[in-house]
Amino acid sequence: MDDKKPAISDARIDELIGGLLIVGVVVSSLIVLIGAGLYLKRHGTQLPNYHVFYGEPSGLRSVSGIIKEASSFSGRGIIQFGLLLLIATPVMRVAFAVVAFIIQRDRIYVGVTLIVLSVLLFSLAGGGR
């Protein structure tokens, strides 16, 4: 804890983080929308089956699988990619906060944000499966 003026103010961090979140939501919503168009065009007349739980196929479960599915232009794959981006938005927000606290030389909060970031990345990588 020092008394020097930080290189980047808390308010500025807030502002940047806010912008990051909005971009994340808008971009992922657009991708989901594109995927929705393809999905409904191809499968719109089929019957939904959500009453019984099967779980998603492996291609829609992992980060690498989703990227592969999306790049083959499957509607469901593209939607899932958009959703993955949406889930990654708060993760990027925390990663951004780590950097901001490093610039501010706030050691306690660099530690705090790194702990939060580790939990998020562990979860996304499939650590809780």
Binding site: G19, Y50, R93, V116, L124, G128
Partner: protein, 278 residues
Amino acid sequence: MDIALFSLLTFLGSTTAGFLGALTGLGGGVVIVPLLALVFGVDIRYAIGASLVSVIATSSGAAAAYVKEGFSNIRLGMFLEMATTFGAFLGAALAGMISTRIIAVIFGMVLLYSAYLSVRGHPGAGAVDVPDFLANSLRLDAAYPGSLGLVPYHVHAIPTGFSLMFLAGTLSGLLGIGSGAVKVLAMDQAMRVPFKVSTTTSNFMIGVTAAASAGVYLNRGYIDPGLAMPVMLGVVLGSLAGSRVLVSSRPRLLRIIFAGVILILGFEMIYNGITGRL
């Protein structure tokens, strides 16, 4: 009913839930799971997956309005996120182990509690505002912009707040909701953070918390793109519209009606859980 119609109906339902949730300040996430499970007959695991995704979207989307106001306390949020993310991870892990009937009953009880809280309203913090040693060393005390300039405040009862946040995270991961009710309990009542600060800070936290459990749900195959798509788009659109309509005043009658809906859904969830229909 084919997929096109199903998607349209769940989209409309989610838009309404998001709209009412934002308008009344109660959050739409809490009614998405009962809506999908009870009305559309969706398996509760798919419903929770779709709801989690929409919770992240609304939390991140709402940040636009909040950030400009400068009420949120980023250090407090990050500090408490240690509790909520670990809790959320645990909750998501638990969701894979316990029966959907038990999840439904717990869900119902949380709904009843949310309905109770929303009608009772927010009690003002009347206690003496003395600095707290732990809060001070963690640099959690801050100030928010008031009408006459910056209003400094102190944060209290860190261990209690932290523990309650762990519970909030666990419920969020188990049920796929934002757990706003428990967060209010922790920040407004235990830690005595000013209301506006606690609302905006917890909104920030909700997205990060939900992301911690969404990763687990995704890897376990609980997030179905076909279902999450109309739900997420609907909730985003609805809550965006809802927050535009009335920013400051929250209509009391509408709030009571929505609380009534939550109450009924709560009883329905418990009943269906006990009888084994969910």
